[in-house]
C-alpha cells in the first residue's frame, strides 16, 4: 500500500501536492477495501480493531469509577481519530470533537495526565508534544509510557529504542504503535478546555501558541478540523487577558497577525474548517474593539466557505448582521440575523447565542420600522432576557417618546452590555415616525400643536419639519396646511390593489423552493455504493456470458440443468 505509509508518518515534509496525491491513492485503496469485509491480513486495520475492542472492554468493566470512565471516554475518541486519518474522512474527527463537551465536565488535570502518560512512550516521536501537554497542566513529574505510579513505566522506556528501531519485529511485547499527531492535538484541545475552565488565561494563551506552532509544523490535512478548534480557544484566552477587549491595547489585537496568517494558509490549503473558524474569530475580535471598518474590509476581502459547519455559518451571519446594522444597512442586517437565528442550534447549549442574536434582530427590526412578533417574547427560554426589549418594543409601537426615553434610561446598562445601546439610540426617530403614523391613522385632521404635545416634541416648528419629512419619506400620506397649522391625512389606499401581496407570495414560494433544493443537496449517500452495484452487475453479466458460451458450445445440456433442479 504505497499510499498509506506517508499517512502514518507523523513528521512529513511540507510538500503539499505530493501528499494530497498520495492521500488520493490511499483513499482509493480504502474504497476498494470497503467493498470487501475487513481483511484480517492488513496490519493497520488490526490495530484499529484492537483499539476498538479494548475500549469496549474497558468501558464495560470500569464503568463504575468516574475517573476510569473519563479516561476510557477520552481514549475511545482515539479510535475515531485513527479512523479519520485512515479513511481521510473529517466526519470522524468531528464526532471526536463533539464528545469534548461531555468529557469537559469530568475532566481534571489528573485524568488528562494519566491519559497522556498512558498514550505516549517517552521516546516516541510524539513525546515532545506530550511533554508540552503535561507542562501546561502543571504535571511535569508524570512519567510517560505507562500507568501513573506504576512500575512498568521505566522498563518500557528502557526497551524503547529496540521497539522503535523495528516496530514490526516486536511481536512478543505489547503492541507498540506510533501515536498519530491527531491524538496529540486532540489531547491539546482537552488541555485548552481544562485551562479555560480553570481560568488560567495566561498559561492557556502560551500553550495555545505552542500548539498552533506544532500544528503548523505538522501540516497535515487531517488536522484541519482540530486546528479550527485550537484557534477558537486561542482567541478565547486572548479575550480574557487584561486589558479587556474594548481597549485597543487588548491581547486580541496582538494576536490578529497570527490569525490573519492562519487564514491565509487555510485559504491556500482549502482548509474550510480553519478558514471559517478564523474568519469568525477575526470578525469577533474586530467587533470587540469596535473596528467596524476593518471588519467590513475583512468581509469584503474574504469569501466565507460555502460548506462550512453550520455553527460557524450561524456565527458568521450574526457578526455580519451586526456590522451591517452599524452601517445602517438594515435590510441586509435583517436578512443575515434572521438566517443566524434560524441556523442556531435549538438545543439548550446554544441558548446564549440564540438570545444575543434575537436581541440584535429585534432592534434591527425596530429600526426598519417593523414591530416584532409578540410570540418572540413568549418563548420560555428567552422571556426573561428579552424583557427590556419587550418594553422597548412596546414604547416604539405606541410611539410614545417619553416612555421610550424612560425605558432606555432604565435599562441602559443592559443594552450597553448587549452592545445594542448605540443602535437603540437611533430608534428615537422611529419612535417619532410611528407616533406620527398613529396620529395620521387616527385623525383625519390634527393641529401641529397637538402633535407637538402628544409626541413631546420641542416646539411646533420642529413638529412641522418632522411631519414634512415624514410625508416625504413616505411614512404617512398627508398634507400640511401652513396658515391654519394642521395636518390633513389622505385616504389610505387598498394594499390588495398593489403588487405587494404578489411579492410577498413570491418571497414565500421562493423560500420553500430553496429549502427543498437545500434539503436535496444535503442528502448523504454512502460513498461508492454504486461501485458495489456495478461490480455485482458486472459479475452477473460475466456469468451470463459464460452461460451463453457454454450453451453455444453445447456443454450445458438438459441433463445438467435437470440435475441442478434436482439438487435444489
Amino acid at each position: 500500500m504505497p499510499g498509506k505509509t506517508p499517512d502514518r508518518e507523523p513528521a512529513r515534509g511540507g510538500n503539499n501536492n505530493n501528499n494530497n496525491k498520495m492521500k488520493g491513492k490511499g483513499k482509493k485503496g480504502e474504497d476498494e477495501k470497503m467493498t470487501v469485509v475487513v481483511p484480517p491480513s492488513k496490519k493497520k486495520e488490526d490495530v484499529e480493531g484492537d483499539v476498538v475492542v479494548m475500549e469496549g472492554v474497558e468501558n464495560e468493566g470500569e464503568g463504575e469509577d468516574p475517573v476510569e470512565k473519563t479516561v476510557a471516554d477520552i481514549k475511545s475518541n482515539f479510535a475515531l481519530l485513527d479512523r479519520a486519518v485512515a479513511l481521510f474522512d473529517a466526519r470522524f474527527t468531528l464526532r471526536a470533537l463533539r464528545s469534548v463537551s461531555s468529557i469537559r465536565k469530568r475532566l481534571t488535570g489528573d485524568v488528562l495526565a494519566r491519559v497522556v502518560a498512558e498514550t505516549y512512550m517517552a521516546s516516541s516521536s510524539g513525546a515532545e508534544i506530550a511533554v508540552g501537554l503535561l507542562k501546561a497542566i502543571g504535571r511535569e513529574e508524570v512519567q510517560l509510557g505507562g500507568k501513573v505510579g506504576g512500575g512498568g513505566g521505566e522498563m518500557e522506556i528502557d526497551s524503547e529504542p529496540t521497539t522503535k528501531a523495528g516496530s514490526g519485529k516486536n511481536g512478543v511485547k505489547k503492541e507498540q504503535k506510533e501515536v498519530i499527531p491527531e491524538i496529540g492535538v486532540f489531547l491539546g484541545i482537552l488541555t485548552q478546555v481544562l485551562l479555560h475552565d480553570g481560568k488560567q488565561w495566561q498559561q492557556g494563551l502560551e500553550f495555545s501558541r505552542y500548539l498552533i506552532e506544532k500544528i503548523q509544523e505538522l501540516n497535515r490535512r487531517t488536522l484541519d478540523g482540530l486546528s479550527a478548534k485550537v484557534y477558537f480557544y486561542f482567541e478565547l484566552f486572548a479575550e480574557q487577558l487584561a486589558p479587556l477587549p474594548p481597549s485597543s491595547q487588548s491581547t486580541i489585537v496582538a494576536i490578529r497577525p497570527t490569525l490573519l496568517a492562519a487564514l491565509r494558509t487555510a485559504v491556500l490549503r482549502k482548509d474550510t474548517d480553519t478558514q471559517a473558524s478564523v474568519i469568525v474569530l477575526l470578525l469577533r475580535s474586530y467587533l470587540l474593539t469596535s473596528h467596524i471598518s476593518q471588519a467590513d474590509l475583512l468581509v469584503s476581502h474574504t469569501q466565507f466557505p460555502e460548506n462550512a459547519a453550520n455553527n460557524q455559518v450561524a456565527r458568521y451571519l450574526y457578526y455580519l448582521g451586526k456590522v451591517r446594522a452599524i452601517q445602517l444597512l438594515y435590510t441586509e442586517a435583517h436578512n443575515h440575523l434572521t438566517a443566524a437565528t434560524r441556523k442556531a442550534p435549538s438545543s439548550a447549549c446554544a441558548l446564549g447565542f440564540g438570545q444575543t442574536a434575537t436581541k440584535l434582530l429585534l432592534v434591527v427590526e425596530l429600526l426598519m420600522g417593523d414591530i416584532p412578533d409578540r410570540a418572540t417574547f413568549r418563548q420560555p427560554a428567552m422571556e426573561a432576557s428579552l424583557h427590556p426589549y419587550f418594553l422597548l418594543v412596546r414604547a416604539v409601537r405606541v410611539g410614545d417618546l417619553e416612555d421610550f426615553e424612560s425605558v432606555v434610561a432604565q435599562h441602559g446598562d443592559t443594552f450597553r452590555r448587549d452592545g445594542t445601546y448605540t443602535l437603540i439610540l437611533r430608534l428615537r426617530q422611529n419612535v417619532i415616525k410611528t407616533g406620527i403614523r398613529m396620529m395620521s391613522l387616527s385623525y383625519s385632521r390634527i393641529s401641529l400643536r397637538d402633535i407637538c404635545i402628544r409626541l413631546h416634541l420641542g416646539s411646533e416648528e420642529s413638529a412641522e419639519y418632522i411631519v414634512a419629512k415624514a410625508i416625504r419619506d413616505g411614512v404617512i400620506e398627508a398634507t400640511l396646511d401652513r396658515e391654519k397649522g394642521y395636518m390633513k391625512s389622505k385616504e389610505v389606499g387598498d394594499v390588495y390593489a398593489t403588487s405587494e401581496p404578489g411579492e410577498t407570495f413570491h418571497d414565500r414560494i421562493r423560500a420553500c423552493l430553496s429549502l427543498h433544493d437545500e434539503s436535496v443537496k444535503a442528502m448523504r449517500f454512502p460513498m461508492n455504493q454504486h461501485r458495489l452495484e456495478l461490480k455485482n452487475a458486472q459479475e452477473a453479466r460475466e456469468r451470463e456470458r459464460e452461460m451463453a458460451k457454454e450453451i453455444q458450445e453445447g456443454d450445458l445440456d438438459e441433463d445438467d440443468l435437470g440435475g441442478e433442479f434436482e439438487g435444489m
Binding site: 452601517q327 445602517l328 428615537r428 411631519v467 414634512a468 398634507t479 396658515e483 414560494i509 427543498h516
Partner: protein, 273 residues
C-alpha cells in the same frame, strides 16, 4: 536638535489666524523634521516625546487645512492621525488637547459628505474611549452626534439654531456648517414640495431660513416652483403626470414579473414531482 526646531515650529503653527500658504510651508518643514526623527508613522521604538510632537503636527495640520477649506488635505491628516489615536495614552508624554476636537470635526465632515455609514462606524469606535454619556456630553464630540440625530428626525429648526455663529463649539465647526447649510435647505425644500400644496411667501422665507424675499424668488426658480400672488405653488400636477407614466411602465413590469414567476414555479414543480 530636530525636536527643538519642531517645538519652535509648533508654537508658530499654534496661532489659529495663520494664513494658509504660510501654514503649509511650516507644516511641510515640520514633516521633514519628523522624518529626520523617523516619527512620521508610529512604531514602538519612537520616544514618547517625539510621538507627541508628531501627533500635534498632524492635528494642527488638520485644523489648518479645514480653515483653508481644503477637504482633501483634511482627510489626509485625519487618516494619518488614526494610528496615533489607537495608541495607549502611556505612549505619549502628554494627553492630546485636540483629539476630541479633530474627531468631532471629522464626524461633522462625514455628515456634510453624506457618508453616514462611516459616521456610524466611527461613532461605534468612540465607545471604546469612554461611556456613551461621556462622549455625548463632550463639548466637541456631542455636537456632531446631536446634529445627526436632529437631521434624522427632521428637526431642522434645532439644527439651524445649533449652527448659528455663537452656538458652534469652535471656529472650525463654522466652516463645515457653511457647507451643511445649503444641504439642509435642499432637504427642507424637497419635503415641503411633498407636504404642502402651496405656501405663502413669508412662510417659505422662514421655513427655508432665507434672508430676503429676493432670495426666496431665486430659490423657487432654481427648484422650478411656480410663484403666483406672493404664494408658491409646488409642481404637483406635473409630478403626478410623470408618476402616472411611471405607473404604466410599472404595471407592464408587474405583468411580466408575474409571468416569469409562474413559469419559474412550473419549472421547479417539474423537478420536484
Amino acid at each position: 536638535m530636530a525636536d527643538r526646531q519642531l517645538t519652535t515650529l509648533l508654537t508658530q503653527l499654534r496661532t489659529p489666524s495663520l494664513p494658509f500658504p504660510q501654514s503649509t510651508t511650516l507644516l511641510s518643514k515640520a514633516k521633514l523634521l519628523l522624518l529626520q526623527l523617523s516619527a512620521l508613522t508610529p512604531s514602538p521604538t519612537i520616544l514618547p516625546a517625539n510621538l507627541t510632537l508628531a501627533r500635534e503636527v498632524y492635528e494642527l495640520g488638520a485644523l489648518h487645512s479645514l480653515r483653508a477649506k481644503n477637504p482633501d488635505s483634511f482627510t489626509r491628516y485625519v487618516s494619518q492621525l488614526q494610528p496615533f489615536y489607537e495608541l495607549p495614552p502611556s505612549a505619549f508624554s502628554s494627553p492630546s488637547q485636540n483629539q476630541n476636537k479633530v474627531t468631532a470635526l471629522w464626524l461633522l465632515f462625514l455628515l456634510t459628505q453624506g457618508r453616514y455609514t462611516e459616521f456610524h462606524s466611527d461613532l461605534e469606535g468612540l465607545s471604546t474611549r469612554g461611556s456613551v454619556a461621556e462622549v455625548e456630553n463632550d463639548k466637541f464630540l456631542g455636537y456632531p452626534i446631536k446634529l445627526e440625530r436632529w437631521l434624522m428626525e427632521g428637526a431642522y429648526d434645532r439644527v439651524w439654531k445649533a449652527m448659528k455663529k455663537g452656538e458652534v463649539p469652535s471656529e472650525e465647526f463654522g466652516v463645515l456648517c457653511e457647507v451643511l447649510t445649503p444641504q439642509i435647505r435642499r432637504e427642507i425644500a424637497s419635503s415641503s414640495e411633498r407636504a404642502y400644496p402651496s405656501l405663502p411667501f413669508l412662510s417659505a422665507q422662514s421655513l427655508l431660513f432665507l434672508d430676503s424675499e429676493g432670495a426666496v424668488v431665486d430659490f423657487a426658480h432654481s427648484r422650478g416652483w411656480v410663484i403666483k400672488d406672493r404664494t408658491i405653488y409646488f409642481p404637483t400636477a406635473a409630478e403626478l403626470n410623470a408618476d402616472e407614466e411611471g405607473e404604466q411602465e410599472q404595471e407592464k413590469e408587474v405583468g411580466q414579473m408575474v409571468i416569469e414567476n409562474t413559469l419559474g414555479y412550473a419549472r421547479q414543480l417539474e423537478t420536484i414531482v
